[in-house]
Subunit: 208 residues, 4 copies
Amino acid sequence: MTKHPTSDERRPANRGPKAAAGNRAALVAAAREIYAVHGLDAPLSRIARKAGVGQGVLYRHFPDRDAIASAVLEENVRQVEQAAADEGATLAGVLGVVTWHLVRSAAFIGLLHADGASGRFHADGEDGRFHTHALARDLSERFERALRGCLPDGHRPGVPDASDDLMLAVAMVSGAVIGPTPEERERRALAAWRLLGITVGPVTAFEG
Amino acid sequence: MTKHPTSDERRPANRGPKAAAGNRAALVAAAREIYAVHGLDAPLSRIARKAGVGQGVLYRHFPDRDAIASAVLEENVRQVEQAAADEGATLAGVLGVVTWHLVRSAAFIGLLHADGASGRFHADGEDGRFHTHALARDLSERFERALRGCLPDGHRPGVPDASDDLMLAVAMVSGAVIGPTPEERERRALAAWRLLGITVGPVTAFEG
Amino acid sequence: MTKHPTSDERRPANRGPKAAAGNRAALVAAAREIYAVHGLDAPLSRIARKAGVGQGVLYRHFPDRDAIASAVLEENVRQVEQAAADEGATLAGVLGVVTWHLVRSAAFIGLLHADGASGRFHADGEDGRFHTHALARDLSERFERALRGCLPDGHRPGVPDASDDLMLAVAMVSGAVIGPTPEERERRALAAWRLLGITVGPVTAFEG
Amino acid sequence: MTKHPTSDERRPANRGPKAAAGNRAALVAAAREIYAVHGLDAPLSRIARKAGVGQGVLYRHFPDRDAIASAVLEENVRQVEQAAADEGATLAGVLGVVTWHLVRSAAFIGLLHADGASGRFHADGEDGRFHTHALARDLSERFERALRGCLPDGHRPGVPDASDDLMLAVAMVSGAVIGPTPEERERRALAAWRLLGITVGPVTAFEG
DNA sequence: AATGAATGAGGATTCATTCAT
DNA sequence: GATGAATGAATCCTCATTCAT
């Protein structure tokens, strides 16, 4: 009849505690993809399904909706931090990594707007007052710190000379990152950096 | 058959058909504000409530979610068109109007992303394919045409010399427009234009 | 923009009191067609639109949902009454008219079920108790009386000998009247009469 | 993002996954009763309430309106199939079971009309074209097959000798099944069979 | 530790009915 | 008398979150 939850269905064996870490990773990966395709408002159930786990597992690892988004984000930020911490790190090189994440991850763009609100102008209270989740703010700060660390000590021509401007520039590029395909989005991102007169290294994920 | 209200209950006054035009305007105004505060995904019921009308009125005037957003948008675009068509219109002046709308209207920012996807990375089909609503595309083109018309015939230093770059610049500024208050958002918008080396006139709505 | 009720639309001139009767007739005709195509639950607004009048007119003529259905019905019943009252009326002839209405009018079939409930098993109160609208019951009785009047005084072989059985037979035929097209429905109605061993005259509306 | 219940409010007990099968059965049972009393158009919420489950459960088990109706139906048809498959099955005996379902289940009556249209004259498209759901058609065929299997090999007097006529007869009886109480409906069903000259066994649900 | 069923609030949408004009 | 806009209750449906197993 209806091929629905009659519950005499087979239960996909409890793969035991060992799977926990793997599940977490699978969830984050699934979330990244789902976010990229369906936006940050995609149903959590879809993420769990794509990760191949039950809804409960998602909640075990991530207490609320923001937690999972933050986890995706955390990966993004961590890679930027690592790129920045790397031996011969240059601003251009790090911005290449930043650009990669802007192009690939909707969550990352969301972060840049996190000190304003979750969504672009998004607010929560009935009164319209804004609030930011501590975690997002924390990540935002880590990101800023990483980027700031790459700024040359003195001022150089053609490079924003204050970290404020640098953060602003990143937000601006994020605004340019529109388009159906990653290729198109990358093309626009690079055009945006060019318009700002800022040199960017190869657009790539950071692999230590 | 269907048993509906029939209510002998008190009805909150039917202001009559004369209110129609007024209601429509109220809805658009309410939508503009709600969008600004709560984002484009705000519940329609909230818009109706703010406009002081019943849910049904909203649906009568705007058959679907996009229709109301487009109406807000249309006002935005129209003002830009008018500013551009104005006698002594300058690029800087028009960009001031554009900036005003970027700062005030979430819908307007959404438009800039409309030729890429409805939301930022938002997709609709299960397959992740993107689609754009014809209306949004139309408005997007009107906006671009208006802006293009303001470009100087020759190239001037410090001004993007292709309309593609100009549109890109607007998208970039839109990325910078973050923040809890209009003031903060305007501050950031102006900083963004400055970073691009583009001069902007007074940030103001266009009143013929 | 939206080509919707901005209310500066032209108002279709008030055609004056003379139109009242015409409007009523138009409504009944529209209802008959709408019912046939969309069932008895079709929105009233659709009926009004098809009749080319405002919603208010519908309510002026018919205070509630049942009133309009009953009006359609009344026409059906009246034709049967007239056919039965006709000079050389025979049972077979009248049943031909009855069949015509069964085939053409969803409302008429509904009537046959009216002493049970509006819909088939339909009930209204939360308690599941049934009630029938007085008007429908009245029509039902008129219909029965008309039919009874055609019964031969004595019993004839092959003809139901009680009016109860005759009414039952009509209900049974109504159950057979299924199908996408009037033709198909008529075919089935005739087959049903045949199965009952009851002779039916030509299937036709009654025109005096 | 979306601010959902989160409710610290008391939750009316989650009876756990074990309840799934029971819930499904409860829903089908509730639907059967609700349909019988309020017709096939009864609000789904009422079914869920009667079954003592949340709205969501209904949607989990039955993705759409037709699914639940079909489930009720499936039970009806299955019982008829079983009665027909039974050792000493006779046509009269099976028709007794059929009659039981006609008397008890509005959904079952609906089925008989399914190869014509969903509702009686009900249509879906604006164009008035009819369509039947595959599932309903499937069930309709199973029912017909089961009944056909009970027909005697040769022709016997007083029994329809073609399966077409038999199906027509069932539809006709369904038309007779009107009335506020099951008792009244059963009385009329039996009278209908009598009028057709068809012998029917005891009216009863089939219990293996 | 995992599973996925259950819950129910919330948002979307429709339509009977009223009523200002 | 007619018009059709306005109202809002009711229904549909989705999905965040909890929790029995």
